[in-house]
Amino acid sequence: MSGLLSFMSFVICVALVGAAWVAIRSTSLPMAILAAGLVSLLASLMFLILAAPDVAMTEAAIGCGLTTFLFFFVLGRVRGGEHD
């Protein structure tokens, strides 16, 4: 791994932990779900840099895509209900 990729992975890791913090600490549900999607997206970039393109594609299509869509569908169903 060259210096360039090391630098990029450092930036991505910092962003990853920041996005996870937003996902855990935010009180609004849509924001938490979006932040969790962003965590998946950045993790998928990290997988690609760690030389695992298969896993990167799976994480992008399934972890970041389908999971986020499922969350938003359920959120649309329970909207108007109690939130904490």
């Binding site: 298969d54 990167a56 594609m57 299509a61 399934i62 389908l66 499922l70 569908f73 649309g76 169903r77």
Partner: protein, 236 residues
């Protein structure tokens, strides 16, 4: 309050274990024995260029069969859970108001759906050559269904077609596995078809066939999960 203290204590304990693991980690410099076997023998024995695909479909094919079964059970349980009892449900939402999607999204999705479907098929048909495979391709196909669903929320899908595709692909997967027992080395051996030349689309024996079946099955399962979660149905 005691709960908080308990949580923090547990997390600090886990963190100590993780720090210990982190400090004692040293990367390997050479492949271990299993990986060396896969790296040396995959291309000559199975003819697959993507070694991860070879591991998933052939070397650990039985695990993948189990995985597909788990997905099938997920879809089935989801339908059972979301089945609506008329007595209990408190929020019957009759004919909610849905804002129109507008002309742009309608025309755009008509433009894009065939291309997305083609991309999904490309991913699982070329799973043995490039990254991608049945699971990713199935997810992309489900995305095309999602786009249709978003464009017209009141659209009805043929759920029988989904379950039919799913059953036929699952049966096909098992049948190819059993054929491997008779005509080749064992269950799910891919050498029932000719190996072909490395890098061609028709190569690697049964791997593209199995990946296509997995792709269709996973696509149908994810589509049915999406349709069931997004639709308010009176009966399952």
């Amino acid at each position: 309050m005691t709960k908080r203290i308990f949580v923090f204590g547990m997390l600090i304990g886990l963190g100590a274990i993780f720090i210990d693991l982190l400090l004692s980690y040293t990367p390997d410099s050479a492949l271990n024995q299993t990986a060396r076997y896969y790296a040396e023998r995959t291309a000559t024995d199975l003819g697959a260029a993507n070694i991860v695909a070879a591991v998933i479909v052939t070397y650990r094919g039985l695990d993948t069969l189990g995985e597909v079964t788990v997905l099938f059970l997920t879809a089935a349980i989801l339908v059972m859970v979301l089945y609506r009892d008329h007595g209990i449900g408190i929020n019957k939402i009759p004919n909610r108001f849905l804002p129109p999607t507008g002309e742009m999204l309608g025309t755009g999705s008509r433009l894009l759906v065939p291309l997305i479907l083609l991309m999904g098929v490309y991913l699982f048909a070329n799973g043995h050559l490039t990254p991608g495979g049945g699971f990713q391709g199935g997810a992309i196909i489900a995305s095309a269904v999602l786009l249709l669903l978003l464009t017209n929320p009141n659209q009805t899908f043929n759920l029988q077609l989904f379950s039919l595709t799913e059953s036929i692909s699952g049966i096909g997967f098992v049948v190819i596995g059993v054929l491997g027992m008779f005509f080749a080395g064992g269950f799910l051996d891919n050498r029932i078809f000719p190996i072909g030349q490395l890098g061609e689309l028709f190569s690697a024996g049964a791997i593209p066939v199995i990946y296509t079946l997995i792709g269709l099955k996973v696509g149908a399962e994810f589509s049915s999960i999406l349709v069931h979660l997004s639709e308010e149905k009176e009966e399952s």
